[in-house]
């Protein structure tokens, strides 16, 4: 009886027996963090959330013709792209601005497309055009009412981008301002956050990637792209270089790039993705 009893006791967790099995299987699979199928080359890209969707689309196309390659695209900002490509966490980095001299010492940038940054307003805002000086006044709170720049009598709500975004850097570079000079009413992160801030408060002024703004405006979002320094922001004016606020969309590599990654980089800079670039409302590199 005693023996029988002990066996019973040990195995009497019938309630949870299935659960233990599951748990066991789980810990086993956890322990075996082994590499997956051999022979498959993985390329990792991290960086700019502006560039990531384009590269993801291009990667999908590339994988179709190269079945032995797997491409992981993670966004997280240009700075992350630079850091990861430099440290080797990622094979390639995505950066939505030109590299600084310091950065260019260790990394090599390959331009895959160009983008412009444009100022946006609500569709109902009568202002249609703003020049550089007016923008400087607005972003430093010298102009606080729309009437001073030719609009209705309403306060100007200034939307600025958060620290570190390359749109911010490009825009401030154009205005010749330091971020510490900017007096914003609202600080936002993503492009669509800017656009929706303008939609939800018609007194807001903001700036975003032309691609995003054009695409949203075309689909009925009540915003408009503001004429800056007399030039209408569009893919054409970015392409011919007349629009004043532009930036390159780059993919960067360090000195030790694998052959597979180099091949993919080659693909990204080739005309084979031009249709994708245009679909994302960016301007292809000639």
């Amino acid at each position: 009886m005693g023996n029988d009893f002990s066996m019973n006791s040990v195995f009497s967790f019938a309630v949870s027996r299935k659960y233990w099995v599951l748990l066991g299987g789980f810990s086993l699979s956890l322990a075996s963090c082994s590499k997956r199928e051999a022979g498959v080359e993985t390329i990792t890209l991290t960086g700019s959330s502006t560039v990531a969707p384009l590269v993801a689309d291009a990667a999908k196309r590339y994988e179709e013709s190269h079945p032995a390659v797997r491409i992981e695209v993670q966004s997280g900002g240009s700075s992350r792209g630079l850091a990861d490509a430099g440290s080797g966490v990622a094979d390639l980095g995505m950066v939505s601005r030109a590299l600084t001299l310091e950065e260019a010492k260790t990394l090599k940038a390959h331009r895959i497309a160009a983008d412009g940054v444009c100022v946006i307003l609500h569709k109902d805002n009568p202002v249609a055009e703003l020049n550089r000086q007016q923008l400087i006044d607005i972003y430093t709170k010298k102009a606080v009412n729309w009437s001073t720049v030719g609009g209705a009598d309403a306060p100007i709500v200034v939307a600025n981008k958060a620290e570190g975004r390359s749109t911010l850097e490009v825009f401030l570079h154009f205005l010749g301002l330091d971020n510490a000079d900017v007096k914003a009413d609202v600080v936002v992160g993503e492009n669509l956050h800017v656009i929706n801030s303008v939609v939800s408060n018609p007194n807001t002024v903001g700036y975003v990637s032309i691609g995003t703004a054009a695409s949203e405006a075309k689909n009925g979002t009540p915003i408009k792209l503001v004429i800056t320094e007399g030039i209408t922001p569009s893919m054409e004016t970015v392409a011919d270089g007349t629009f004043p606020i532009t930036r390159p969309l780059n993919v960067v590599e360090d000195a030790q790039t694998s052959a597979a990654a180099a091949a993919f980089l080659q693909f990204l800079t080739s005309p084979a993705i031009h249709d994708l670039v245009e679909k994302h409302y960016f301007v292809p590199v000639p």
């Binding site: 006791s9 009497s12 967790f13 309630v15 949870s16 659960y19 599951l22 748990l23 789980f26 699979s29 956890l30 963090c33 997956r36 959330s49 990531a52 969707p53 993801a56 689309d57 992981e72 695209v73 993670q74 966004s75 997280g76 992160g189 993503e190 492009n191 669509l192 956050h193 691609g211 995003t212 695409s215 949203e216 689909n219 679909k279 409302y281």
Partner: protein, 294 residues
């Protein structure tokens, strides 16, 4: 442990204006809650319903989510949930059992553990995400994977599970424990065979809440489970959760708004189904084994 209405209190003596004022204020609050949520859900339906179709549930993500469906993401979400619950439920329930059955409530160790769990509840989800990225993805070498995401979420829902299980155990009739002891049952038997089944309804509520929390989480997954929209082949693959997809569509993809709403509807449906399944399974299991109808 039935939650059914207590008729004696519902029909209690009404007394004039105070009673009416209470009823009115309560009714207004309930109506406000339901109304606001109705509003949100209605907005989602208005924007998202036109895009819903069978192929949306099964199709792959195309054109950054503006086209196609969310099939792979649905699978990823479920896998992340599994990776989350498998460690979290034993941890949470075990911790609660230990606190309620193995130590004195006021003791230093009990206080330390409860404090730690309460503190865990107050860690911002984005901090969980950063922690998961460094600890699971990098230190433990799991990479951006469904496993990393699930384990990160496990830490996040742990306090919910501990608290609800603890509450359920504490609200059990006090005489169950002496009854079990008097029959010479070991503590193990008493816990596994008697207390745990009796506390089951409460635990299921906790798990339900945890499921909702886990499936809706974005910030913690952004850094851990990754963005990949491929069909996941194992839990070591990177997989984008539905909530991350919603975030991406709403904030990163131009004209992603309507699809974000559709995806949100899919997520709500998934939560409804999983919750209903959890409640139903537990009820059936209880009826079969423990709680024959009264």
């Amino acid at each position: 442990m039935s939650f059914s209405a207590d008729s004696s209190t519902r029909t209690a003596t009404r007394s004039g204006w105070a009673d009416r004022a209470f009823g009115f204020a309560g009714g207004a609050a309930a109506f406000l809650t339901a109304g606001l949520f109705g509003w949100i859900v209605w907005d989602l339906i208005r924007l998202g319903w036109p895009h819903l179709s069978w192929s949306f549930f099964t199709g792959e993500v195309e054109d950054a989510g503006r086209q196609g469906g969310v099939g792979p993401l649905l699978i990823s979400s479920v896998l992340i949930l599994v990776c989350c619950l498998v460690p979290a439920v034993p941890l949470g329930v075990g911790c609660a059992l230990w606190l309620s059955e193995c130590v004195r409530r006021g003791s230093l160790t009990a206080r330390l553990v409860t404090g730690g769990v309460d503190l865990l509840a107050s860690v911002p989800s984005i901090v969980f995400g950063l922690f998961g990225m460094v600890f699971f993805c990098q230190k433990l070498g799991m990479g951006f994977s469904i496993l990393s995401g699930g384990l990160t979420l496990a830490g996040m829902i742990l306090p919910i599970l501990v608290r609800t299980t603890l509450t359920a155990l504490e609200s059990l009739p006090a005489d169950l424990r002496p009854a079990a002891a008097a029959l010479g049952l070991t503590r193990t038997t008493s816990i596994v065979r008697i207390l745990l089944p009796a506390a089951m309804p409460g635990i299921v509520v906790g798990v339900t809440l945890g499921i909702g929390r886990a499936l809706s989480e974005t910030a913690a997954l952004l850094f851990t489970s990754g963005y990949s929209v491929r069909w996941p082949e194992s839990i070591h693959d990177s997989g984008r959760a539905l909530s991350v997809h919603i975030y991406d569509l709403a904030l990163n993809v131009a004209n992603g708004g309507p699809m974000a709403s559709s995806t949100a509807l899919v997520l709500l449906a998934l939560i409804l189904i999983i919750n209903a399944a959890a409640v139903m399974l537990s009820e059936r299991w209880m009826r079969r084994r423990y709680h024959p109808e009264a």
